[in-house]
Amino acid sequence: MGLIEVIKPGQLSLIHDFGRFGLSQLGLTQGGPIDDYAYSWANFLLKNPTNSAVIEITLGQAAFYIHHECMLALCGGDLQAKLDGQPVANWSRFAAKKGQLLTFSLPRNGLRAYLAVKGGFEAPEHYGSCSTVERDRLGGLHCDGKGLNAGEFIAFHQHQTIKRSRKVTFRFTPDYNLPLVLRLIESYQCDKFSPAAKSTLYESEYTVSQSSNRMGYRLEGPALEAPSDSLLSEGIALGSVQIPPDGHPIILLNDRQTLGGYPKLGCVARIDLPRLAQAKPGQKVFFTQGDREGLQKVWCKWARFFGY
């Protein structure tokens, strides 16, 4: 058995596989990597099964000690990773030697990095998944929903390392710092919103609010008038755009509550969510109308490629 040790977890380092599914009827959220695109590339570079456990490192300032040599992959936000002080290329696979220290400092692009190991990290399944969801007290190394702590060891199957690195082509690596244009698939209560409310959404500039997290991203900007008739709580799909009474959109992500009663305009395209999940407070966000059929085709292509 190989080990890496958490020297410091930074602001938030969480164990995640693809997520916890099939229990939403009891109120259990899906969890899983909030940037599933970067997560999938990290596992892909190591030829891991799609559902292999990785570490989601948010906002950097983390350090891991390598106790046994291993092949690692790093994708997602650029948190200035260094191996014994030497920069490690993002969106790449590389070998780490016994005794090396992998460190992350402040984010230079995006917010969250995905660290994968060949064969996946070992973490107990808790109701079908090791994904860490603090609010539900599920997943993580100790099945209690807690993030990684300094001094904890994470195990993996020992394996041969190879020198040759491998990198995701630049065509497929996003620049997370660019302004975001989110494609909205109109659905749910969209027809109940006034044309004025909809044109406000499509014509305004929004910014990511400070109070955004794995549950949802809150946006600041012109308020929308929400339909006044009350709504019974209903299932919330990933990426739903809900408008609470203050009129500021909230886009619901992986750790969202399973039911909600605020009116929703529809859902942000799945292929746009990874970039939203990497957006920093203050980053600009725009909406445009999305075409469900076309977006579905593109998502299916990626899903097949990564083997979801």
Binding site: I185, C267, Q296
Partner: protein, 234 residues
């Protein structure tokens, strides 16, 4: 037979709309339809989330195209709607200590409705409720409908923390908070038994369609079962 509507809400999600208002007696049927979908389409489905009047289905469109799943769902729903469940719902009895020390909003019912604590207790505990939806938080069951006399809007400003086990009323619904959380419901008592068990074999005793009743207990039994007063919970 009820009419229904099925429409996609996202690339990987479809909503089945089965009505427009709460119908507690229909919840068992909704639960059955959700189970049938989960069972028959298990290879292509990620989540099936039933609620008061609708069912959200999350699926993998590259395994089953949208047009196909819409047809499959339509035939399942049609078939299930024609066959209401014949066996009785699972019944769950929840012990509750109704007291101002764990249910401060009992006072609101006397102030605004002129009901004594005893009247609130007997109205709330002599009624059978249906689990109409589960969610908001893990294991949180929305129970309908409370007797008219107990209908009470939620607090305009939610409490920052409502202790786990709190039995509460909002509008025409009642619920037990399985975990401590912020909340605006009117708290009238506390259930000392844990209702969300992430480390146990059964996560939650509730599922949609179950019937629930509340059984008043005295303070000594409440404490024996592990119940605590608000002062020590906060």
């Amino acid at each position: 037979m009820k009419s229904f509507r099925i429409e996609p809400v996202a690339e990987c999600s479809v909503m089945i709309q089965l009505g427009t208002k709460i119908d507690p007696k229909f919840s068992l049927h909704i639960g059955h339809i959700a189970d049938a979908i989960r069972y028959e389409l298990m290879d292509v489905i990620m989540n099936v989330t039933p609620s008061y009047t609708n069912i959200l289905v999350d699926y993998l469109p590259f395994l089953m195209p949208e047009a196909t799943i819409l047809q499959r769902l339509e035939s399942i729903v049609k078939r299930e709607l024609a066959h209401p469940p014949t066996h009785p719902a699972n019944h769950i009895e929840i012990p509750v200590y109704y007291d101002l020390s764990v249910g401060p909003d009992l006072a609101r019912f006397s102030e605004e409705k002129g009901l004594t604590i005893e009247q609130v207790i007997s109205l709330h505990s002599q009624h059978t409720y249906h689990v109409c939806a589960m969610g908001f938080a893990p294991g949180f069951a929305f129970l309908a409908e409370v007797p008219d006399e107990l209908v009470m809007p939620r607090h305009a400003t939610p409490r920052l923390s409502v202790p786990a086990g709190s039995v509460a009323i909002a509008a025409n619904q009642t619920a037990v908070y399985p975990e401590s959380s912020p909340g605006g419901w009117n708290v009238i008592g506390n259930c000392p038994i844990p209702l969300y068990n992430p480390t146990g074999d059964v996560i939650s005793p509730f599922s949609i369609g179950d019937t629930v009743s509340f059984c008043p207990i005295e303070r000594d039994e409440y404490e024996e079962l592990g119940g605590q007063l608000w002062d020590s919970l906060k």
